[in-house]
């Protein structure tokens, strides 16, 4: 069954989705973040893929369950079901193909139609290693991100540039929202059993908080 790290131990479990047009590099961003791998010969994603990684924020262990989705429009019939319960999203476009950036607004709408308004969204301009082919100026994207109230970063899965930062930033922001909210409503976060979803108000992100002993 392959090798597993002993990563059953975590304080928070966040579900994150990777979305964006086909061929922008979602799967390679995921494999860079979870396995530190990049493949020049990757196959197009059919349906959904899944991977996890654990990071530390403050003194907490945060585990990310990341769903990587097929980018072709027609696959949304299957993939949009995976938006449910997500508390974070990386919305990826390819800086060398302007049309993938133009479609970002549609992806964002799709996302917001399916889940809470306050899901943490990171706009990700991937493939910055292809500098000579850039078609989307950084300013254009950062302006969009500001207007739409999303985070923004440019990455290269190939050169492992900013990939770590992009994912970590999303997870950290989710953590901030969740822990702040838990504080506000005086909830004892350790009392929630594992697997239970905390819905912190209608307009807020939800997250799964682990408590008790692991069943691993």
């Amino acid at each position: 069954m392959g090798a597993y790290r002993a990563d059953e131990d975590y304080d928070y479990l966040f579900k994150v989705v990777l979305i964006g047009d086909s061929g922008v590099g979602k799967s390679n961003l995921l494999s860079r973040f979870t396995k530190n791998e990049f493949s020049q010969e990757s196959k197009s994603t059919i349906g959904v893929e899944f991977a996890t990684r654990t990071i530390h924020v403050d003194d907490k262990i945060i585990k990310a369950q990341i769903w990587d989705t097929a980018g072709q429009e027609r696959y949304r019939a299957i993939t949009s079901a995976y938006y449910r319960g997500a508390v974070g999203a990386l919305l990826v476009y390819d800086i060398t193909r302007h049309v993938t950036f133009e479609n970002v607004a549609r992806w964002l709408k799709e996302l917001r139609d399916h889940i809470d308004q306050n899901i943490v969204v990171m706009l990700v301009g991937n493939k910055v290693d292809l500098r000579h082919l850039r078609a989307v100026p950084t300013g254009e994207s950062s302006g969009f991100a500001e207007r739409e109230n999303t985070f923004f970063m440019e990455t290269s899965a190939l050169e492992a540039l900013n990939v770590e930062n992009a994912f970590t930033e999303v997870l950290t922001q989710i953590y901030r929202v969740v822990s702040r909210k838990a504080l506000d409503i005086g909830d004892d976060p350790t009392s929630v059993p594992r697997g239970q979803t905390i819905n912190i108000g209608k307009d807020d992100v939800s997250a799964v908080k682990k408590g008790g002993c692991c069943s691993g």
Binding site: M1, S22, E41, K43, S44, F50, Q72
Partner: protein, 344 residues
């Protein structure tokens, strides 16, 4: 059975590439493929005998085939389940899928589609060409004959059926066919499958909303519960549903990520008997790994459902197991409740 692709007399940087008997580049420390070992004299003779039998059954260029199938359908079914000899596979696939007839009825149509028509899907197709069987020598070379053929077939289909157009996953189907037949033959086999020349049309798997994929996943879910109640229960508890692991089984008929020798054996039966075998093979995989799967928590389950152990993917073990499963007509006739809720 191994061969080197690189011509050693050629000048220039020689990168020796080792490929398996189907043309896939071997990973240096990859798992040893079940069929990679050299075949024994016994196996060789057995294969020769089988090929002779098959040749007799088909006749020259397939001339005796239809009559043979009419006279002895059970013999044909049994032999196909044992695997079509690789050297005859391309021809037999065209015979059993009905694509040969389509080709003969439509002379010049393929050429027309390729040369004179344009498709809205052209860019989508191009983007996926190098991402389809990237580890196969035929498709590896940028703009090489393999990639060109793949593009042509997919473009032709996207013009032929503009409602379907091009959907990711079709490339693996077309790619698999192109390893066994010409572009035009592969195109008509694609038409035969999607339009339902012999069996249920597959086009619903690729149309907007992927309705047939959703229906099959729904039915598969029921079949798991029916045949393996304990596992079905466990899946429900861990919130695993078939769309997490089986979409690609249906969309590409096991050609996306399964060992190629297994995919071919499944395709033999799929073309002759229809989509039922996809359900049965899926169930057999779960059955084979049942005792492990019922113990695994969510994440490990997902991993296990995407990485079946090598012994589970031996066609001579898996297929007989699949054939012994009686998928009840009830489950196979189930249709989705509306509105569609694929993830629940």
């Amino acid at each position: 059975m191994e061969s080197k692709v690189v011509d050693e007399n050629e000048e220039g940087p020689v990168v020796p590439m080792r490929v398996d008997r189907f043309g896939f580049v071997k990973q240096e420390h990859g798992p040893t493929e079940g069929l990679a070992r050299s075949r024994s004299a016994f196996e060789y003779q057995r294969d020769e005998r089988r090929i002779r039998k098959w040749r007799k059954m088909i006749g020259v260029g397939g001339s005796d085939w239809k009559q043979y199938v009419r006279r002895k359908p059970h013999v044909v079914k049994r032999r196909i389940r044992k695997g079509i000899p690789d050297c005859l596979r391309g021809l037999v696939w065209q015979l059993i899928s009905g694509s040969r007839d389509l080709l003969l009825l439509n002379p010049g149509v393929y050429e027309q589609l390729i040369i004179y028509e344009t498709s809205a899907s052209e860019l989508d197709i191009i983007r996926d060409i190098s991402r389809t069987f990237p580890s196969h020598v035929f498709f590896q070379q940028r703009h090489g004959p393999g990639q060109r053929s793949l593009y042509n077939v997919l473009k032709a289909y996207s013009v032929f059926d503009r409602d379907v157009g091009y959907v990711q996953g079709m490339g693996f189907v077309a790619g698999l066919l192109l390893l066994y037949m010409s572009e035009e033959d592969a195109f008509w086999l694609l038409v035969a499958l999607l339009k339902g020349a012999v069996h249920t049309p597959m086009e619903g798997m690729y149309l907007v909303g992927l309705p047939l994929v959703q229906q099959y996943l729904f039915q598969f879910d029921h079949l798991v519960k029916e045949h393996m109640p304990k596992l079905g229960e466990h899946f429900a508890q861990e919130m695993i549903n078939p769309s997490m692991y089986a979409s690609q089984w249906f969309i590409t008929v096991f050609s996306y990520s399964f060992p190629f020798h297994l995919a071919l054996r499944i395709w033999d039966v799929f073309l002759f008997e229809g989509v039922k075998v996809v359900f049965k093979v899926g169930l057999a995989l779960l059955k084979y790994c049942h005792d492990d799967l019922v113990k695994l928590p969510f994440e490990k389950l997902i991993h296990a459902l995407r990485n079946f152990p090598e012994d589970a993917m031996n066609p001579d073990i898996l297929l007989p197991m699949a054939f012994s499963i009686k998928a009840s007509p009830l489950s196979l006739s189930l249709s989705l409740p509306s509105p569609l809720l694929p993830c629940d």
